[in-house]
């Protein structure tokens, strides 16, 4: 059995979720969306899964559609929150984890989804941040992700605009700003996985099996430390791969990747966690 990188990536994201967490992903985030369903159906059965722009609670969608607010995404949900119901929960601190990405991400996990280049005349006008600028302050933990690390333009020394806050901003750190949320806990890229040190800076802890630390350094615009022992990202189990394929038959997750990344293919190796 073989699997492709998009499948491994989604499973890596899923593993940042703990059981019994309240978890949310934003719109336009198919990898995070698929990951939440993988977690719910494997190691986190009692998580509260809030489905992106539908605000549906624990749905069982027949497939992941290419848009974040198609009705298919609330199928099987006994209840869908109102928009304000979700955002109120997020700002008062009742949401444990959110997935967040960015066109630019700095060492502290600040993200820019507003504009690259000067704000008055942007080089690239990005889509915008949705609700992130407020709820990144108060949600328990953030899992950041990007599929564009290798471009060299995503992990930057300084964001041209801070849309969503990480651990430390030019205006102060979270404690100084009065924010109750814990900030970024993990950052998963197509090269590896970072956690955050006591100063709030990204630290490389794992790389994918076909990536070395030098490749990560070359692609990263900020200095980072590494764990004493940089491990290989744990490979997906058969159960996880089956769920990825079942929940996302249209392959919507693939739309996040540069086509070259989708050619990364691996042989599945049985291990004790795998119920093949």
């Amino acid at each position: 059995m073989t699997y492709t990188f998009d499948e491994w990536f989604v499973v890596t994201l899923a593993r940042t979720i703990s059981d019994r967490e309240v978890v949310f992903h934003g719109f336009g985030s198919p990898c995070a969306q698929v990951a939440m369903h993988v977690a719910k159906r494997t190691h986190a059965p009692d998580m509260l899964l809030i489905e992106g722009a539908m605000y549906a609670v624990n749905p069982n969608p027949p497939f992941i559609p290419p848009t974040g607010n198609d009705s298919s995404l609330k199928q099987g949900a006994a209840y869908s929150m109102k928009f304000e119901e979700f955002f109120d929960a997020a700002i008062r601190g009742d949401v444990d984890r959110m997935f967040l990405s960015g066109g630019q991400i700095d060492a502290y996990g600040n993200t820019n989804v507003t504009a690259v280049g000067p704000l008055e005349k942007p080089k690239v006008k990005l889509g915008g941040g949705g609700g992130g600028c407020n709820i990144s302050a108060t949600i328990g933990q953030l899992t950041l992700w990007t599929t564009r690390h290798r471009s060299g333009r995503t992990l930057v020394d300084k964001c041209d605009f801070i849309t969503d806050i990480g651990h430390v901003t030019p205006a102060g750190n979270r404690a100084e700003l009065g924010y109750t949320g814990g900030g970024p806990q993990w950052m998963v890229t197509e090269l590896g996985v970072f956690d955050y040190d006591s100063e709030g800076r990204a630290r490389l802890v794992e790389v994918y099996s076909d990536v070395d630390v030098d490749t990560v350094r070359e692609a990263t615009g900020f200095e980072f430390t590494t764990a004493a022992d940089v491990k290989t990202v744990a490979s997906p189990t058969c159960a996880e791969l089956t769920i990825v394929r079942g929940i996302d038959p249209l392959g919507v997750r693939k739309s996040e990747f540069d086509p070259a990344e989708l050619t990364r293919t691996y042989d599945h190796v049985h291990d004790p966690g795998c119920n093949c």
């Binding site: 336009g28 985030s29 298919s72 700002i91 949705g130 407020n134 302050a137 009065g178 739309s255």
Partner: protein
Amino acid sequence: MIFLDPDKRVDLATAASHIGDGALLALGGGLSSRLPMALVRELVRQGRTSLHVVGSAHSMDVDLLVAAGALSICEESYVGFEQDLGLAPAYRRAAESGTITLRESCCVTILTQLRAAEMGLPFLPVRGIKGTDMRRLHPEYAETTCPFTGEVLVAVPPLIPDAALIHAPLGDLHGNLYLDKPYVLDERFAGASRAVIATVDRIVSTDELVEYGITIPAHYVQAVAEVPFGAHPASSYPNYAYDRDHMGVYVKAASKPESAAQYIEEWVMLPDGEDGYRAKLGEESLQRLTTWSESTQTWKGLFA
């Protein structure tokens, strides 16, 4: 404002005529769901200019207004076509060349500002924003100190749109509207705006509407126009799914000014308006979008 006329039914042109140049508009729905597309197309046909739009995460409604030169200020929290079709081409071009004013906002901030308007308050505080660059886009925000705890919070003013443009699958002659979730900000828009201008796929009796449930009551609604497929190419569940293929046609056309203008000529500036639009799409392609409930296979097939 409160509207008491017992019969609010008008044609689309009359509905759109309530909106003037330079109006501050709240766009209902979001992303690919219940966008007020027929109203947007009609505003373009009527040559409206200098519009200022606010809302949460939107796509083709905003981009088409930009492509048509109808929009001056954009205060949406996101404009784009998600990962699937990417950045919003006309919006991006206009933002990068400075032909529209960017006032990008955040869903929570907009929600808070609408609540201030609904409650008739001069401001409300939010806990976020500090540490981000959002205030560079919003010099109107201020800071306030909590009289009880001393916490310094960002204060935001009320947001009172001149009109909320809302598309609903069903409504009645009084202007009562039934929406399928997600309602997004539409209930808040209805309470905060000076008027709701609505389109509905179908007008039904009040008794039938009550069985579905009324989401937005008639007294907020100034005008309601029956426009079948009035959200197209966005979805209007339970009636029809979104038309991903047509969104793709638009995004491709919008990638260059010349082809964007051609799209508008071909799909919007039709002499018989929405009747012409539906005729051009063809009954078969529209009916296909209503088949989503037949089976998972059919539903999934709409997006393959």
